[in-house]
């Protein structure tokens, strides 16, 4: 069966510090991968999606970036965090239009 992992589960970082969130998928190959952000009490905002290794599409211009160094690994990064980057970050993979979400990372920028 397929599983999706995200780490860390929670993170508290000061403004201006770098960020690296990791997402890995097991049990499937060449999945479409997604990063979403969910601000407190808000819906999901699509940040990036990837249809293959090294192929990244950005939905929202901001200080975040994404990379896909391996088929089942998706990384969300920032060189300098802003207060507005706080939120719940969700990674997802897709099969037949259905999305399967990871447990999420709660990021608090202080």
């Amino acid at each position: 069966s397929q599983t999706i992992h995200q780490w860390p589960a929670t993170l508290v970082q000061p403004v201006g510090s770098p960020l690296s969130l990791e997402c890995t998928v097991e049990g499937t190959s060449n999945p479409n991968l997604y990063w979403y952000r969910q601000a407190a009490g808000r819906g999901l905002q699509l940040l990036f999606y990837s249809v293959g290794i090294g192929q990244i599409s950005s939905e929202v211009p901001q200080n975040l970036s994404a990379s896909r160094p391996q088929d089942r690994q998706f990384i969300l990064s920032s060189k300098k965090l802003l207060l507005s980057d706080s939120g719940f970050y969700l990674c997802a993979w897709e099969r037949a239009y259905e999305q399967y979400f990871g447990p999420g990372t709660r990021l608090t920028v202080t």
Partner: protein, 114 residues
């Protein structure tokens, strides 16, 4: 472009009462429709999906939804809710754009009271 509107941001309901969560969408092409549920501090999980065929769709946890093409809606229903159904519910729409991007609604918070 597609869009999704969830008409209620919060729905309080008593335990064992029926509930309906409303979702309308807008699209110039055919779409696939989904309902996801999110329990506190967790990721989303699929409740049900409408791709084609029968307009009545059965999902997990006793939920079902009815697709209405003329009203461009996929309202979610459950005849009798439990305390454990308290969660955030998201309606979503997807079409094939070469990346299978899915657009999510803003969510409806279902709060089941004893």
């Amino acid at each position: 472009a597609q869009s999704v509107t969830q008409l209620d941001s919060q729905v309080p309901v008593f335990e064992e009462a029926p509930v309906e969560l409303r979702c309308n969408y807008s699209s110039s092409v055919s779409v696939y429709l989904f309902w996801y549920v999110q329990y506190p501090n967790q990721g989303l999980q699929l409740l049900l999906k409408y791709l084609s065929g029968s307009t009545l769709v059965k999902g997990i946890n006793g939920f079902e939804a009815e697709f209405n093409k003329s009203q461009t809606s996929l309202h979610l229903r459950k005849p009798s809710v439990h305390i454990s159904d308290t969660a955030e519910y998201f309606c979503a729409v997807s079409k094939n754009t070469g990346g299978f991007k899915t657009i999510f609604g803003a969510g409806t918070r279902l709060f089941v009271k004893a």
